[in-house]
């Protein structure tokens, strides 16, 4: 393979040297500039900081592979946070999971059955759910159920809870995509829905299911994040919609559908996490930070040209 060919997305995984090399490059650069970067405390911080984004980005990846996009994930996270402190602790987990499934169903039905564009459909639910979250909890606060806090505040074999949260969802997503019929058919739907339908795949069902899984991942991220800060906030998830899309795009997932992989999403999420952490440690001006992230995204996307799959 030529050096230019290495930069291109190979097959349906979308994995490329750019996607995998970016976090490695950032890791090396930041560790050279900031001596505190490689401390155990800091690496543990980075792990904890990227966990919620990784969980949501994995959900976003599933929707993206199906050819859609879900902008409501941040509001689902915020709503989860507010519900966790507003309902009886024994009912909190079933309640938020049920809400997640319902939101996913509404988004999925809107996109797959009523053929509303995914951007419009999930933008509408994003706005509605954000308002609902603020209605439930206008002022941040409340107490997260103790058992949930314990689930994010332990260490095992010298590794923090955040590591196990990441591992669990990475394995789940990888299993779904690589070892089940669901994964295979999801790629087929995203690559070419008409062809998939002609081959007997229930496109509507798989599209709806992808949104349900995505919303559920946002609920899980909301549970993790609320427990991590031991409090609820109705605006907690506001940045996650665009950040999750950025993470999957950095990881080589094509938003047109049919291309994406779990390692790519991990790489994209770590890249974003390292950008934030590194700039804080180095002391980069906040005025420069947002622009730097945008430039990085632009470079990464430019070096990963779209490839037609299933056409």
């Amino acid at each position: 393979m030529s050096s230019i060919g290495l930069l291109h997305s190979p097959g349906r995984s979308g994995l490329s040297l750019v996607a995998l090399g970016l976090p490695v490059l950032l890791f090396v650069i930041i560790s050279l500039i900031s001596p505190s970067f490689l401390s155990v405390q800091n690496l543990s911080n980075v792990n904890a900081q990227i966990t919620a984004l990784l969980i949501i980005a994995l959900g976003q990846m599933i929707v993206a592979i199906s050819g859609g996009i879900d902008l409501s994930v941040g509001s689902v996270l915020s709503l989860t946070s507010t519900l966790l402190v507003s309902v009886d602790p024994t009912l909190s987990i079933p309640t938020v999971l049920l809400v997640g499934v319902c939101v996913g169903l509404v988004n999925g039905v809107g996109v797959a059955i009523f053929t509303v564009h995914p951007l419009v459909m999930t933008l509408a639910s994003m706005t509605f759910l954000q308002g609902l979250a603020l209605l439930i909890l206008p002022v941040p606060g409340g107490s997260i159920p103790g058992f949930l806090e314990a689930l994010v505040d332990f260490s095992f074999l010298g590794l923090p809870a955040a590591f196990y949260w990441c591992l669990t969802f990475v394995l789940l997503a990888a299993f779904l995509l690589r070892a089940t019929k669901f994964g295979m058919r999801l790629f087929a739907v995203g690559a070419n829905a008409q062809n998939a339908a002609r081959n007997g795949v229930n496109v509507t069902f798989y599209k709806i299911l992808s949104y349900v899984l995505c919303s559920t991942s946002a609920v899980m991220a909301g549970m993790y994040l609320s427990a991590r800060v031991a409090s609820a906030d109705a605006t907690m998830g506001a940045s996650f919609a665009l950040e999750s899309v950025t993470a999957v795009a950095l990881g080589g997932v094509q938003l047109a559908g049919g291309v994406g992989s779990v390692p790519g999403v991990i790489a994209g999420t770590i890249t974003l996490g390292l950008m934030t952490n590194g700039m804080n440690l180095i002391g980069v001006s906040p005025f420069v930070r947002a622009s730097a992230t945008g430039v990085l995204l632009l470079i990464a996307i430019s070096l990963q040209p779209r490839k037609a799959i299933g056409a």
Binding site: A52, L134, V139, P140, G142, V229, S231, A234, G237, P286
Partner: protein, 357 residues
């Protein structure tokens, strides 16, 4: 109660002056000029408890950028920090108004092993764990903003909040003789400071027959404030006065009233030069609470005092008299542009460099 507290403060200051015998208040530096920032308690930090030999690295976690007040406050903060040769690094982080990002920022600053941490919590409950971790690690934490005792801050410096909102509410109640319909322009939904200002407004309106006809979130932003005001004006909803949660929203709404030819109604503002200009030019009836960008320098001075081993009061509050129709001209600077906020700690040449028209 306020008088008792003042007497206690005076007594405490006199006692230490006597102890020092120098006439210099070494334990309680004037973080800002008197009347602009004053102690609210007699409780003090322990002398020498946070003394560290320099040079220091100081970290500051701020909720986010987005308006001219923040830009000026950040500049004044960095300017003050740069004047002190013992401050080696001053790391300013902003969370883009995302609570989760602020949590991460504070964690990063602790990992960076800062000597002191300044935190402006977007929502105190969400950063409680991290502030506790910093204090446990021996890092003095100076907070700015209402925390209601939730955070174990070494020193708390506060301004705005309920008093800001209440000042406008009381003024409107007086202007409207206790009855009428007002529109309410709030800041960013979910931000504690915003909620406190709103609660202050409601307290100020208590006992009156004033009705809130419309309530919108303008994000303390000129552009969004203007769009919302245009919608309300064009909807034809009745309005006798408007309460604003501050920043650039009043200026935006006055522009809308002028553009549409609608007569101005009493509006609350804030100590911003652009607002003072438009207030002057339009003969508007208004009141403008002062939310000083000098709070940033005060935070740096408090941090330095702690690291020098000096004592400080545990909490301070900035509650200067609001700018009124009578005092407006003392504050308005014709030579400066709209982005300037009173009261500034910057020297005149720096003010001219940044804000000259």
């Amino acid at each position: 109660m306020k008088k008792i507290l003042t007497l206690l403060n005076v007594a405490a200051i006199s006692a230490v002056l006597t102890l020092n015998g120098t006439g210099q208040v070494s334990f309680a530096k004037d973080l800002l000029e008197k009347g602009l920032l004053d102690p609210t308690t007699t409780e003090m930090t322990k002398a020498g408890a946070h003394k560290k030999s320099g040079p220091w690295t100081i970290g500051m976690s701020f909720p986010g950028l987005g308006n001219t007040w923040i830009v000026q406050m950040v500049h004044e903060t960095k300017y003050t920090a740069a004047l002190n040769p013992k401050i080696k690094d001053f790391i300013f982080t902003e969370a883009g108004w995302q609570p989760a990002k602020q949590v991460a920022d504070i964690e990063d600053l602790i990992a960076r092993k800062v000597d002191a941490l300044i935190v402006t919590p977007m929502a105190p409950p969400t950063v409680k764990k991290q502030v506790e971790a910093a204090v446990a690690a021996g890092i003095p934490v100076i907070t700015y903003g209402s925390t209601d005792g939730l955070l174990p801050s070494t020193v708390e410096i506060n301004l705005g909040g309920k008093k800001f909102g209440k000042a406008g509410g009381l003024w409107l109640k007086e202007k409207l003789n206790g009855k009428g319909t007002i529109w309410v322009f709030r800041g960013i939904a979910g931000v504690t400071e915003e909620t406190l200002r709103y609660e202050g407004l409601l307290e100020g309106l208590e006992g009156s027959d004033i009705v809130i006809g419309a309530e919108v979130f303008g994000d303390w932003n000129y552009t969004k404030g203007k769009q919302l005001c245009e919608n309300l004006v064009l909807s034809g909803q009745p309005v006798d006065a408007i309460w604003f949660s501050g920043a650039d929203m009043t200026r935006a709404c006055i522009d809308v009233f002028n553009d549409t030819g609608k007569p101005l109604v009493p509006m609350t503002g804030e100590g911003n030069n652009g607002f003072l200009r438009i207030w002057t030019e339009n003969q508007l009836d208004s009141v403008a609470p002062i939310y000083t960008p000098g709070i940033g320098p005060a935070l740096v001075r408090a941090t330095v005092a702690l690291l020098e081993g000096e004592q400080l009061y545990k909490s301070y509050y900035s509650d200067p008299a609001a700018i009124s129709n009578a005092t407006r001209d003392k504050f308005y600077r014709k030579d400066l542009n709209d982005a300037f906020w009173v009261t500034s700690t910057l020297p005149e040449d720096e003010i001219q460099k940044m804000f000259k028209k």
